[in-house]
Symmetry: C2
Subunit: 397 residues, 2 copies
């Protein structure tokens, strides 16, 4: 854990390892070497997803897949993603050390660009692999500097030979991740048994007014793109309170042009993000934000464009995976708690390919996407133990 | 006009010539050459202000100073500033061509960093020259990349020998500028006679919350710096309507960190700018914005810092300069209109040194600080003619 966390590590103990960056290349090289050292059969697919396979004893048995992602948010934390990849590797090392065989092969995986901050959407490469997105469309996506996903994938040498799609049937997919919310800590649980993932909508609203001088331009002679955007930001704070207990709404990104103290902003882009366990509520939030944006734009006399950049339906995991995780936790005598994930995960897409489940580790103070993200060593251990036993169950059943 | 407007010119017909940039150096070199060609005695001061002097016939008569600035806003227009410098140069050329002598010397001037977008405050070097700011403090100011004013002034070779302060008494200062507002066009005037400049306050509000994941973090578990900032942006839109007819309030600049679609913003900085003819109203706007910011910060549970980056009292120009401009316009049979400037100008500071006046050229649609800024050739000519005749009056009286 420590060795890899230094790759892209920040001075404040966080991690800045954006998808397909130099740091991502370095951690991939490290991970490939670890997989080879653990005698895994390594392959890379055309989206840069990295797989390592340990054979099973039954030639007919489909593999159990276990993993997560090694990329991070800008200035994010060290647990979000890497903990799930490292614990998958630990499972393999433990089976190797103890010379334990399983009927099903076990594959571990590092999915490319789970975070969706450099290239959108989040869970991009697992989405292509699962057939939710088209490869060429995702290749063409570009970052804020206009550099394409495909260029960067080639540059870092991780455009592999295997097609980015399941090459065979899978028995199940398991993923360990930190909770990233406060629930497990609030109920004093040792480990979380995840029952599914909330649905979400992400998008961009662009307001186009007229840049003008902030001094001699009377208030009634303005087309201020920022005032319209600010109005919508305050509405996005309020909309969740009118929908459901679990609804959240956030503006994470703002881009103002020309962004000078004495110029009325001419163009402003903001993002929206809404999540809820119910797909209907997500749709309602989507309708509401566009309505608010229309109102705000017409009040300020500015033009409005919008695009939805991501829509993920809510997911309910397979009962047998939930059960495998629950009984692993019970057998280890951990206090466990069943909960829905408020964050998106590669497991969302995997659920459409095979039976899927997740284990959550406790997040101190619910913090993540920040260097303040923290999971104690004991909590990491309990979650890893639960994951390992659940995967073993599925691989031997 | 055309030749210099190409230095830092943008493809959309605008001007991007930030103070002390390479483009600023190039236009200064050009201006120095033009002044030398017009037989002016050139000197540069320690703030980079550039003066060119044409002798008078009376050795006792103090000089009349005429000028403006050659720097621009980011992606600004080609008239704001340069028109005043070029018409001052035209005045000299006309006097030379016609071999007209004046009792008072006439000096023309290009003031450094009038715009205040790269280094704050606006009207920076005329402020030092007039004694409103301290040289060392302004030298230490840095741009968004952390590069200091002094470094850049030295780098472009415009840290001159003359101290940045009046070296003698001045008879008067005249400045021609575009109006940058819609008044002259609305009253169908050919030229504006400026009676003074509104007062203003500029500042920065920084909100410090906690960056966190936008998904699993419940709405009541957030410290969202952007929601607080957005609240204040909408208040800054409203405050002017509760104060005076001429009050304006603007947020031109926003900086969000980490600025990622799925991270709750941890830190947000916005600027404020309020202007009004009455210094009391400016003070009231200042008090109100801090009050609103306190409320918004406490609602969202975030910390607040603020600094005022500029406060300029309103200025009422000397009657004899207003009269000189007014009678020049009358003698030329132009339709003129007296008005207060809603934009700050170097004339604001000059007013504390000597009798000061300004001529405004009509701004089409009131637009400025944008490539859409436009003044017709005829309106440029009328304003230049008014300036030249007013300056001649003051220089021969
Ligand atoms: N788990 C996680 O942080 N995923 C990134 C996508 C999201 O914002 O949910
Ligand atoms: N005239 C002008 O645009 N000055 C810049 C300072 C201001 O914003 O008023």
């Amino acid at each position: 854990m420590k060795e890899q966390a230094e790759i892209g590590g920040t001075t404040d103990g966080g991690l800045h390892r954006l998808a397909l960056s130099d740091a991502d290349k370095t951690v991939r090289d490290w991970f490939r070497e670890q997989m080879a050292n653990a005698d895994l059969d390594v392959r890379i697919d055309t989206m840069g997803n990295m797989f390592g396979r340990r054979s099973g004893t039954d030639p007919q048995a489909p593999p159990v897949l276990v993993g997560s992602h090694l990329d991070s948010q800008p200035n994010g934390g060290i647990y979000d993603g890497p903990l799930g990849v490292i614990t998958a590797l630990e499972l393999i090392r433990t089976l190797n050390d103890r010379e334990i065989e399983t009927a099903h092969p076990i594959e571990i995986v590092n999915w490319t660009n789970e975070e969706g901050s450099r290239f959108q959407p989040a869970m991009q490469a697992s989405g292509v692999w699962a057939g939710a997105h088209d490869l060429e469309t995702e290749y063409a996506k570009s970052d804020a500097d206009g550099i394409s996903f495909e260029e960067e994938l080639n540059r870092i040498g991780y455009n592999g030979d295997t097609p980015a799609a399941p090459q065979e049937a899978y028995e199940a997919y398991l993923e360990l991740h930190i909770e990233q919310g406060p629930t497990l800590e609030n109920v004093d649980a040792d480990v979380g048994v995840v029952t599914g993932v909330v649905g979400f909508t992400w998008g961009e609203l662009s307001f186009h007014g007229a840049a003008d001088h902030s001094g001699p331009t009377p208030m009634d002679h303005r087309n201020d793109a920022l005032v319209a955007a600010a109005d919508v930001i305050t509405q996005i704070r309020r909309i969740p309170g009118t929908l459901g207990d679990r609804t959240v709404g956030t503006v994470g990104h703002v881009d103002v042009s020309p962004n000078s103290v004495n110029i009325i902003p001419g163009d402003v882009t903001i993002t929206w993000g809404f999540r809820d366990p119910s797909d209907e509520v997500v749709q309602e939030a989507y309708d509401r934000v566009l309505e608010e944006a229309d109102w705000a734009a017409s009040r300020e006399g500015v033009e409005l464009d919008y695009t939805e950049t991501m829509r993920a339906p809510s997911v309910k995991f397979a009962d047998r995976c939930i059960k495998a995780v629950q009984s692993a936790a019970d057998e280890l005598e951990y206090e466990s708690h069943q909960l829905l994930s408020g964050a998106g995960h590669d497991a969302t897409h995997l659920d459409s390919v095979c039976d899927t489940g997740m284990v959550f580790a406790v997040s101190e103070n619910g913090k993540s996407h920040s260097p303040a993200e923290y999971t104690s060593w004991d909590d990491c251990y309990r979650a890893a133990n639960t994951l390992g036993n659940a995967a073993y169950k599925l691989a031997t059943s």
